[in-house]
């Protein structure tokens, strides 16, 4: 189906649904007709959504293994400014993500990192601070640029001790708040060469927020609000998952809305038929790499 047909179809059904709802509220006498219209246009919208979903999923390469491009190689066609989003979760996930990032690579000129952190997760914030400081000193020693970064705080889906009845509301709020994190360009990058300024890649390794972010990206692409070529969702299953996928991993695996899907252990990779990328967390620099060991 051609792109314009799909858009027209989606728009028409949305308009029909809107006007039917308007009619039903203004003149209750037309109840039956309005209800029919609402029914019909809801079905039409549903058809639009599923067509678009299938189209998006099939547009992705069926191969969810990563394409390995050497970041130091000029072959990589990097946008004038590259901007990546990192979804951080509770302490363990954050620690793993930062260890995967901290592999000694430090040529980040024109590169921006945005961290998505849940409110009240001061542990993740501290870890990010430590990582960025250590990266800055590494880059200084090498004479390269560490690039820029910012933190974007979203409401936590459920605080500890929060009454159960209010959980759906805060969960919804946290999902709604993901959209600005994806759409608002980082301060320093406004008006620069990159236009429109969306993250090129979105990294996640297992926290529940990771699935909601992937879902938000998918919805934005379904509605033609962001191009398919950006916000590529790169999912790396947590190192802690040896034989089974985490809930987030399962959701992303079965919905097919991640662009890259890898695990860090062979056992779980074999079970789901995905690629094992090896224990990426161990790419991390260790203390002895950072400060020469005083003992010797």
């Amino acid at each position: 189906m051609a792109r314009s047909t799909i858009i027209a179809f989606g728009l028409a059904s949305a308009v029909a649904l809107g006007s039917a709802i308007f009619t039903i509220t203004s003149s209750p006498r037309l109840l039956k007709t309005s209800l029919l219209t609402i029914g019909a246009s809801s079905i039409a919208l549903l058809i639009f959504a599923s067509t678009r979903h299938i189209q998006l999923v099939s547009h992705r390469s069926r191969n969810r293994s990563p394409r390995q491009l050497n970041s130091q190689n000029s072959v990589v066609q990097r946008a004038p400014i590259d901007y990546n989003l990192f979804v951080l979760g509770s302490g363990g996930h954050t620690k793993e993500m930062l260890m995967m990032m901290d592999d000694g690579f430090c040529d980040f000129a024109d590169f921006h990192r945005r961290y998505l952190i849940s409110s009240g997760d001061s542990m993740s914030e501290n870890h990010v601070q430590d990582y960025e400081e250590s990266l800055a000193s590494l880059c200084e020693a090498r004479g390269t640029s560490p690039g820029t970064y910012d933190k974007f705080i979203v409401t936590r889906a459920r605080r500890v001790h929060q009454p159960l009845w209010s959980t759906p509301f805060t969960a919804l709020l946290s999902i709604v708040e993901i959209f600005p994190a994806l759409l608002i360009p980082p301060k320093g990058l406004v008006g620069m060469k990159m236009k429109p300024c969306y993250p090129s890649r979105v990294f996640s390794n297992g926290p529940a927020t990771g699935f909601f972010v992937a879902l938000a990206v998918h919805l934005l692409k379904m509605a033609y609000l962001v191009p398919e070529s950006c916000m590529k969702v790169i999912y790396i299953e947590s190192w802690a998952r040896i034989s089974t996928l985490s809930l987030t991993g399962k959701l992303l695996f079965y919905t097919g809305i991640a662009d890259v899907f890898v695990t860090q252990h062979q056992e779980v990779a074999t079970r789901y038929g995905v690629q094992n990328a090896g224990e990426i967390v161990f790419n991390s620099r260790r203390l002895d790499d950072i400060e020469p060991s005083p003992a010797k």
Binding site: R60, P66, E96, S293
Partner: protein, 207 residues
């Protein structure tokens, strides 16, 4: 004998606690063993069991061997910075210590990062068997020695971990930017989605 410090850290995780392990490392016989192995300090992070542990420690105060200090505490903000660094060798003052840990991934990754020998004691009491699975994986790959929460097993594990430690020195040498220890591991920065085949893509827009 040179008065080099040697610290042993026991950690059970912040939330649930692991009383069996805490009990065993509070046995005077275990202290005697540690002392004979040259340890000068034993610090036990025991989470919710801290009041029980400190009462126990007070009652056994007289049995602490000469030259060893034993402390218990609930938890700390940053276990790696606050405690693990005390187990790291420092020329002239400290030799490499030891971490005895529950099979929590956070602690294990931290200990790996600091570069410390680790003994992993899975908490079998927890409902999921993730801890046992992780411990098995770590032992299989030679990242750590596993033990049960019994001080006699722990003593055997301490002998073994010293050997493993020597072996692992060559396994993870300090690395510069590009040299990867594990050639099969991809780098996060290098991961990009597969490109959709050009023809496939063109066909999509035309049909």
């Amino acid at each position: 004998m040179a008065a080099l410090q040697r610290n042993c850290l026991v950690t059970v995780g912040a939330t649930v606690g692991f009383k069996q392990l805490t009990e065993q490392v509070l046995q005077p016989a275990f202290w005697q063993f540690l002392s004979s192995e040259g340890f000068t300090s034993l610090r036990i992070q025991c989470g919710p069991d801290v009041s029980w542990a400190s009462a126990q420690l007070t009652s056994l105060q007289d049995e602490i061997p000469q030259g060893l200090t034993v402390d218990v505490f609930e938890s700390t903000k940053n276990l790696m910075k606050d405690e693990m660094l005390l187990c790291k060798a420092s020329s002239g003052s400290r030799q490499t210590g030891l971490v005895i840990s529950h099979a929590g991934t956070g602690t294990i990754l931290d200990a790996w990062k600091v570069g410390l020998p680790v003994i992993v004691v899975p908490n079998e009491g927890l409902l999921d068997n993730h801890q046992a699975e992780m411990a098995k994986h770590l032992a299989k790959e030679g990242y750590a020695i596993t033990s049960t929460p019994s001080y006699t097993d722990l003593q055997g594990a301490i002998h073994k971990v010293n050997l493993l430690w020597e072996e692992n020195k060559s396994r993870w040498p300090p690395h510069e930017v590009k040299s990867q220890k594990n050639p099969s591991a991809l780098r996060l920065w290098d991961m990009h989605p597969q490109e959709v085949e050009k023809e496939e893509d063109a066909q999509m827009t035309n049909d």
